[in-house]
């Protein structure tokens, strides 16, 4: 057991999976010699060689498309998309090819790939280096979408994602990379996809969230505890598969729900969470379901005032949760 940053936990997870399974390869733009623009894959080229850690041409559709083929022919590719904002040229390969392969072939083929992509804002990335893209992919049957919030979860979820014989989008919030640390076991462990974790127990308001927002919600819970308001924080960890039971269970207890994400509101994944509750736990609700999310503008601005106005923060969660508790 060692204390690691979020980034180190991911690197350690990759290293461990590559060491135990020769089929795991890594590729993408700048991942080999440079070790990735965020340094996540640093050292892997030296350890595993140029056959398994590959600097690819600048072409996302080819990165994912070749990963599909390589997976079919026996490898377990873990391609990296340099920023989630640049995943869209590969959208067709992910949504139409990777995610539909098993179904369309009636189970003849499977595509075990894990697409890693740094996402999210609050890091002065502006419109094209801050986006949250999870909702697009969580809508796609055949896909899994994993979004860890702690170093421990990151490593365990990554191992489970690589273990899963279907495409997984593994989203790493950039603002977490070096900002949080936590205990991470040295040995390999798997955290099952589709299992939420109650990161804090509470009784007044349920906050449903994932990724960077989890830490913010916990901070808000801390603040509000002093005011006698008790928040329950549910970290989804993966949004597809979605842990409906965990959501419904918490709603039944608190009767008040706030869904928090950084992505745009309309059609964001928060809508699905609301819909699940409206389907399965409607009569336990004591207040309208609140969605606290990024604004419905194309993406967050680069200028600090614009970025701040867009981002969901611990303060905004605190405020909204306080109001909801008083409803």
């Amino acid at each position: 057991m060692a204390v690691k940053t979020f980034l180190e936990a991911i690197r350690e997870g990759l290293r461990q999976e590559m060491a135990r399974d020769a089929r795991v390869i890594i590729y993408g733009e700048d991942v080999a010699v440079r070790g990735g623009v965020f340094r996540v894959t640093e050292g892997l080229l030296a350890e595993f060689g140029a056959d398994r850690v590959i600097d690819s041409p600048l072409a996302e559709a080819a990165i994912v498309g070749t990963a599909v083929g390589a997976a079919v022919n026996g490898l377990r590719p873990v391609p990296e998309i340099q920023f989630a904002d640049f995943i869209f040229p590969a959208f067709n390969q992910i949504v139409q090819e990777a995610a539909r392969m098993r179904y369309r072939s009636n189970n003849d083929f499977e595509v075990p790939i894990v697409i890693r992509a740094p996402f999210g804002g609050g890091v002065r990335g502006g419109l094209y280096h801050s986006q949250s893209v999870e909702a697009f992919f969580a809508h796609v049957p055949g896909m899994s979408v994993v979004i860890p919030s702690t170093p421990y979860d990151a490593k365990g979820l990554l191992a489970a994602a690589i273990d899963q014989p279907d495409p997984v989008l593994f989203l790493e919030h950039k603002a977490l990379y070096r900002s949080i640390r936590g205990e991470v076991p040295d040995e390999r462990y798997l955290i099952q996809l589709g299992k939420a974790e109650r990161k804090r127990e509470g009784t007044d308001v349920t906050v449903i969230c994932y990724g960077l927002m989890v830490g913010f919600a916990l901070k808000a819970a801390e603040t509000l505890a002093n005011e006698g308001i008790s928040l329950e924080v549910v970290d989804l960890r993966s949004i597809r598969p979605l842990d409906r039971e965990a959501i419904v269970e918490s709603v039944r207890k608190t009767g008040k729900v706030m869904v928090v994400h950084e992505d745009n509101k309309t059609g964001g994944f928060g809508a699905e969470i609301s819909a699940v509750i409206a389907e399965e736990a409607l009569f336990y609700l004591d207040a309208p379901i609140v969605r606290l999310t990024g604004l419905d503008v194309p993406a967050m601005g680069f200028s600090p005032p614009l970025e701040h106005a867009f981002m969901v923060t611990a303060e905004k969660i605190t405020e909204a949760a306080r109001e909801l508790a008083r409803f």
Binding site: A62, G65, T66, G69, L75, N92, Y103, R104, S105
Partner: protein, 363 residues
Amino acid sequence: MWASVLRDTLSGKDFRPVQATGERYRQENRKGRFGLPESGLTPELMKDMYYVMALSRALDDRLWVLNRQGRGPTVYSSNGHEATQVGSAFALRRGEDWIVPYYRDMTLVLAWGMTPREVMLHFFAKAEDPNSGGRQMMAHWGSRRLHMLSTGAVVATQNAHAAGLALASKILKDGRVSACFFGDGSASQGEFHEALNFAAVNKLPVIFFNENNGYAISVPLNKQTVVQDISARAAAYGVPGIMVDGNDPVKVYEVTKAAADRARRGEGPTLIEAKTYRFVPHSSDDDDRVYRSREEVQEQKKHDPLITFAERLLKDKILTEAEKTEMAAKIKQVVDDATNYADKAAMPDPATIGQYVYGGALA
């Protein structure tokens, strides 16, 4: 070995992939006898080629009849492309190498080991359809058993898949060659270029096989691109670009064989362009009279590979008229059998609709 095609397609029985057949080819080769280079093509194999071409044409004709009678859904034909497809399939190691077919490729998949029954099961979208269990529209081929990767409908995605298959082959050193097939229209998609470039940089054992029939549905090649040879694109990537008469199955066989050998030697990808023509509309939903003259089609039919190849085999005494007649009778029987078999086969159970979205822990 290829004589087994005859048996397989007749019986519809399970096909067992045969490993490494190159040695066998070499042994059977009779250099010079037919003016061929040492490509491994024997009279026996050429007869098999013709058989598959004739079978494919007959099967295709039947599909159109079924469609026009209202008994079958939309047809996508390889009618006109038979030589191209049979020539390329025979040059690869069936069941060991990977092919990633195009929807235009019924002849290819027959040559690769799919049986007429299986084709018909796919056409009728029956539960037994080995391509997709009736889930996909006709001509979305795929079979793990045959090493034929499943394809969707978005054109040119298969090019990256083939490069990826080859990437794994290179890393795993499994000696396989991958070949993807695509049309002239598909070459306008960016992914074709991305895949070719990716394969070139990594020297992957892959063949990009372009079936240039001069049209993308109604759009003629001169509206699709300026340079009418798709193979000209190869030079920009440091890859050999080879043009071949797609009506000559032997020439297609030779260039494909050369490309496969090159790939197996670790020298990287090849782009092959076979000039061909589609004699029928794009699909049974299309009406090609809107966009091309009957004269043009008639003119092209003079080079119908089915006729010209038969003539050549007869002339070279590889095939006799009697054999040809016998073959035709066999083919009719095979096509009838396939039609009847598939017609009577069960539809997919709607209860299976939710199956195979995920595997592993999430299944």
